[in-house]
């Protein structure tokens, strides 16, 4: 997947930021925090998972998504987000 495909959506970036901060969450909670509806959130999550940045685990009807710490790109994104947030705060 191309870099711009992942980052071309504001919603996806927001989801990445939430998961990198919290670690893991279920879909409804991600949707609530990102201010998106369930279907859109679900679509974004699938794109992000396809790119290897997040992973999910199913518990019966519940799906929990987590930031994929094992993925180098995901770790780099998390570092970028952290650095960005810090810089913004101190500015």
């Amino acid at each position: 997947m191309m870099f711009e495909d992942v980052f071309s959506s504001r919603g996806r970036v927001r989801i990445l930021r939430i998961l990198s901060e919290i670690g893991e969450l279920n879909i409804s909670e991600i949707a609530r925090r990102a201010g998106l509806n369930y279907t859109t959130t679900n679509e974004h999550l699938q794109v992000l998972e396809k790119a290897g940045l997040i992973r999910h685990k199913s518990f019966g009807r519940i799906r929990i998504y987590r930031f994929n710490e094992e993925n180098t790109k995901a770790r780099a994104i998390r570092d970028l987000i952290e650095m960005w947030e810090q810089e913004t705060k101190s500015a």
Binding site: I22, G23, E24, N26, S28, F59, G60, I62, I64
Partner: protein, 397 residues
């Protein structure tokens, strides 16, 4: 010179503190470890269910927690992923769902709070244990509350869940803590039979044992030379009279220390212990009374007053209801109905404040008799008055 407290480390007298050395419960600890030997030697081959029973303050909780620390440590050394979790059922209002949710959130802190049943949650817990290769020992403390609220179902499910996966490693063991074994009579026969095989009975501490426990706590919590031996002896003596209740003994000591601090003296004297007696109730903590909701308080107020009027050992449900109605009138509250009061009786009795028994002979039909075993009616009334005072003041204004 500013006054320096008699305490060195008050936390050592806290109800949640687990002492590094368990006194006078070593045989029980060994027995418990024996029951769970398989957990570290042949994990997954079998699971265990143990009941610990004994009166208030006989060391049930601390025994289980001590065991939990020990076995987790041993498992770590053997590279076994064993988790010990201590759950106080009353803290979760005796709800199986809330207890399971608490267990699941240990592994997934952001797990959704709603949207599934207790059964699903139990399956989820088992899946987590399997996925992460965890062996789990759950202690259900104050089990009375869970039985009271949900009956046999939760224990049945917890003790039988392993039977459905016979070919995979067994992961879930149970320790149940109860004040009285008679609670097991409320369970159905099949649940009872799976639970009843291993019972560890803790007897009340003797005066000498209480003295040992107190000496140890004094060493940890108080500055050297602030607590003379006679203070310890008195506290131990009083606690033995309260049914060998070590929790009471420790609380007495803590409160006595507080009195010494208020008087700015450098010694906790027997007199401070005597003063403390008036403020510590064995088996019932003041904060627990204060935390009850208004109508439970009014109900207890009725009970306390009626006991003082009659001077008897028991009150019938009818008498209590009448007394409660009067208390409600005084506080301008609409009395709750019979069914609700019945719930209060069950709840307060599982909580240990009141005791219920069925009337047998001498009366037509059956009625529930209510007793007040642990606290003097007068003291209970005073305590309730204190917590209800602000409401009364509200009327006056």
């Amino acid at each position: 010179m500013p006054y320096a407290s008699v305490f060195k480390d008050e936390i050592k007298l806290d109800i949640n503190y687990i002492p590094s050395k368990l006194q006078h419960r070593n045989t029980h600890l060994q027995l418990l470890s024996q029951y769970f030997r398989h957990a570290t030697e042949t994990p997954g081959k079998m699971t265990q269910r143990v009941i610990i029973t004994g009166k208030v303050g006989t060391g049930k909780t601390v025994l289980a927690q001590h065991f939990g620390q020990g076995i987790t440590h041993e498992a770590q050394q053997r590279n076994i992923n064993l988790h010990y979790v201590h759950v106080n059922c009353r803290q979760y209002k005796g709800s199986f769902f809330l207890i399971l949710q608490q267990l699941v959130t240990q592994f997934h802190p952001t797990f959704p709070k709603r949207g599934y049943s207790a059964e699903e949650l139990l399956q989820i817990l088992m899946q987590i244990l399997k996925d992460q290769n965890i062996y789990f020992i759950i202690t259900l403390d104050e089990l009375e509350s869970l039985i009271q609220n949900e009956g046999s179902e939760p224990l049945y499910k917890l003790s039988r869940i392993e039977e459905t996966h016979t070919k995979t490693p067994m992961r879930l063991s149970l320790i149940c803590i109860l004040r009285e074994l008679s609670w097991l009579d409320k369970l159905d026969a099949s649940t009872r039979s799976t639970l009843q095989s291993n019972i560890i009975q803790l007897d009340a501490y003797t005066q000498t044992q209480l003295q040992d426990i107190l000496k140890n706590r004094v060493m940890l919590a108080f500055k050297q030379g602030t607590v003379p031996p006679e203070t310890i002896t008195l506290a131990a003596e009083l606690s033995e009279e309260e049914g060998g209740n070590a929790r009471y003994a420790i609380e007495l000591l803590w409160r006595a220390g507080k009195y010494a601090d208020t008087e700015e003296t450098q010694e906790v004297s027997p007199e401070h212990v005597r003063k403390a007696v008036g403020n510590v109730y064995a088996g019932i903590r003041r904060d627990e009374i204060a935390a009850l909701d208004l109508h439970k308080k009014l109900f207890l107020l009725g009970v306390a007053r009626r006991f003082q009027q009659t001077g008897g050992i028991h009150l019938s449900m009818g008498e209590v209801e009448e007394a409660y109605n009067i208390a409600c009138e005084e506080f301008n509250e609409k009395p709750r109905g019979h069914t609700q009061l019945w719930k209060y009786v069950n709840e307060l009795s599982s909580f240990g404040v009141i005791k219920t028994e069925l009337s047998t002979s001498g009366q037509r039909g059956k009625t529930t008799l209510i007793g007040l075993p642990r606290i003097a009616a007068e003291d209970l009334e005073k305590e309730l008055d204190k917590t209800l005072e602000h409401i009364k003041r509200g009327f006056a204004q």
